[in-house]
């Protein structure tokens, strides 16, 4: 993991209140710092302010309070388009973010907005489509693609724009396990090649487990943050926050009730297997 100490995202004292929410703050004095090249998962139950936070990062929601600095640029009216070039976002619903009439048109959409020359566009679009493994579907219409394929196209559209930050706003929540795995694998590969910063807002515990750092939001505030191992060791406390826990953690809880001795730290599936088979060996 590359940890250059450059802070690519700095958020300080962010407050946000939706109209007609009678004084309920969606974001309440939220401060977060994210390093370049880091993969951060943001988890929290519904209504904890995750999506609000994501949308305020690239100015889709007006700042009401606090400050956001992206890659040294403070977010303001004048800089918003510059910042949007740096941030690529993949949203939840595969169908509702597909702008183009065919796969290649959709991937080119972001580049057209930047007024990039057609010759450059063509190479970038072809590359991006190839990178997400959709080359055979270049001329396909969205109505003939599966949800996972549409999300991969959305990803290709972002890749073509070559942003430094990728935000996944529950990008895998409407996919089947197969599609989810495909999209996540693509993102992992991409991250290895380009070393971009990934911010994934998710309910999916496996997605969170693959992050460098997990931030837990509750009621528009950061309640806790740490490595996946630290966070998942809370076990039951995560349940109280309305979050799922990984399978080994569930197994641990079930075995503890059967009076099987269990370590307190978080175990990955492999380490759990190792632990179990060494449990009764008298070596």
């Amino acid at each position: 993991m590359l940890m250059n100490s450059k802070k690519i995202i700095q958020v300080e004292h962010l407050k946000y209140e939706y109209p007609q929410s009678n004084q309920h703050l969606a974001l309440n004095d939220l401060s977060v710092e994210i390093n370049a090249g880091e993969w951060v998962a943001i988890i929290g139950h519904n209504g904890s302010g995750k999506s609000t936070f994501a949308k305020s990062l690239n100015g889709l929601l007006d700042l009401q309070n606090g400050s956001i600095v992206i890659d040294g640029l403070p977010l303001a009216m004048e800089t918003v388009w510059e910042i949007r070039k740096k941030i690529g976002m993949v949203f939840q619903n595969p169908d509702n973010q597909f702008v183009g009439a065919t796969v290649e048109d959709d991937v080119a959409f972001g580049l057209e907005n930047q007024g990039i020359e057609r010759a450059i566009m063509q190479t970038r679009v072809t590359d991006a489509i190839e990178r997400v493994g959709m080359t055979d579907y270049t001329k396909r219409e969205p109505s003939r693609l599966s949800g996972g394929q549409k999300q991969r196209v959305a990803l290709a559209g972002i890749i073509a724009q070559q942003p430094e930050i990728l935000i996944l706003d529950e990008a895998t929540s409407m996919l089947d396990p197969e599609g989810r795995r495909e999209v996540l694998e693509t993102i992992h590969q991409l991250k290895q090649e380009t070393n971009m910063t990934v911010l994934s807002i998710t309910h999916d515990i496996d997605e969170a487990a693959s992050a460098d750092r997990i931030i837990i939001l509750d009621d528009g505030q950061v309640v806790d943050q740490g490595t996946p191992a630290e966070i998942f060791a809370y076990g039951q406390r995560l349940m109280a926050l309305g979050l799922d826990v990984p399978y080994p953690e569930k197994l641990k809880a079930a075995l503890t009730t059967l009076a099987v001795p269990m370590p307190s730290e978080y175990l990955t599936t492999e380490r759990m297997v190792d632990y179990l088979w060494t449990l009764h060996s008298k070596m």
Partner: protein, 263 residues
């Protein structure tokens, strides 16, 4: 819904499929215009041969064109009959009260019938050989001169292409909503007119609401990808005008001359 041939696209690889959509659009409209020049049998014969040879070139089965005419058959028959019985002049064959069967009436009826068929064939040919998206591109390109009078050409074209892109998506959704409502006991296509109209409401309202949500999501996604409006955008898709298209225009001009001569 599957009976609708007009507006359907048939993938293929004929000369017509490869033509510039702008040329096709202009030529089709022009052709429909000059059909009205024809007022004699030889002229109609020329038009008929011309249309049929285009159908042959397109390599699309004639069935499709016949199917395209079928939904409009009653309208055509009604119009033709009106023409036959209410046009006066020439030799009278038969008379009964205010209905007369005259030579001119019969001729007029036959002309009207031919006109209808030719127009439907031509417009079906246009939509069968041109993907809807190319048509949207063509319309955008042809509207460009209107920019001078501040007409938002680019925005209209974007709306058109987004609308086209969402047609199948919304169709699927309509089917889903209908089935979901059927599962809850809503009867579609049952009972009298008023009852049927009431049964549409449980489809229409969810469809409307979800379209609003869709539009909201789409606008957000577009903005996140840097969409600031039509200014300063480049275009990924471009239309190429080839020799073929110029030839089509020449053919139209020749056809016009022939029709004027044969009047």
């Amino acid at each position: 819904m599957n009976k609708l041939i007009l507006g359907r696209f048939m993938p293929g690889d004929s000369i017509l499929h490869r033509m510039d959509p702008r040329a096709k659009l202009v030529a089709s409209f022009y052709y429909i215009g000059i059909i009205f020049l024809a007022r004699s049998w030889p002229a109609y014969a020329v038009l008929f041969v011309f249309t049929m040879s285009l159908v042959l070139i397109s390599k699309i089965k004639l069935d499709f064109f016949i199917k395209g005419v079928r939904p409009l058959l009653w309208l055509i028959l009604f119009t033709v009959l009106l023409q036959i019985f209410f046009t006066r002049g020439g030799h009278i064959y038969w008379q009964w009260g205010f209905l007369t069967l005259t030579r001119y009436g019969l001729l007029n009826g036959a002309y009207i019938f031919m006109r209808f068929v030719l127009i439907i064939f031509m417009s079906t040919l246009l939509t069968l050989t041109t993907p809807p998206l190319s048509l949207a591109d063509a319309i955008e390109s042809l509207l460009k001169p209107l920019k001078a009078i501040r007409f938002p050409v680019y925005e209209v074209a974007l709306m058109l292409s987004i609308a086209l892109r969402f047609v199948p998506t919304l169709m699927d959704e309509t089917t889903k909503i209908m089935n979901a409502q059927r599962a809850r006991g809503v009867d579609f296509g049952e009972g009298g007119l008023f009852k049927q109209m009431k049964a549409i409401v449980p489809i229409l309202i969810p469809l409307f609401v979800s379209s609003f949500n869709r539009a909201d999501d789409l606008a957000t996604a577009m903005e996140a990808r840097g969409y600031q409006g039509g200014e300063g955008r480049s275009k990924y898709r471009i239309l190429k005008w080839q020799t073929m298209d110029s030839l089509a225009m020449v053919a139209m001009a020749i056809l016009t001359v022939i029709l004027i001569v044969l009047r």
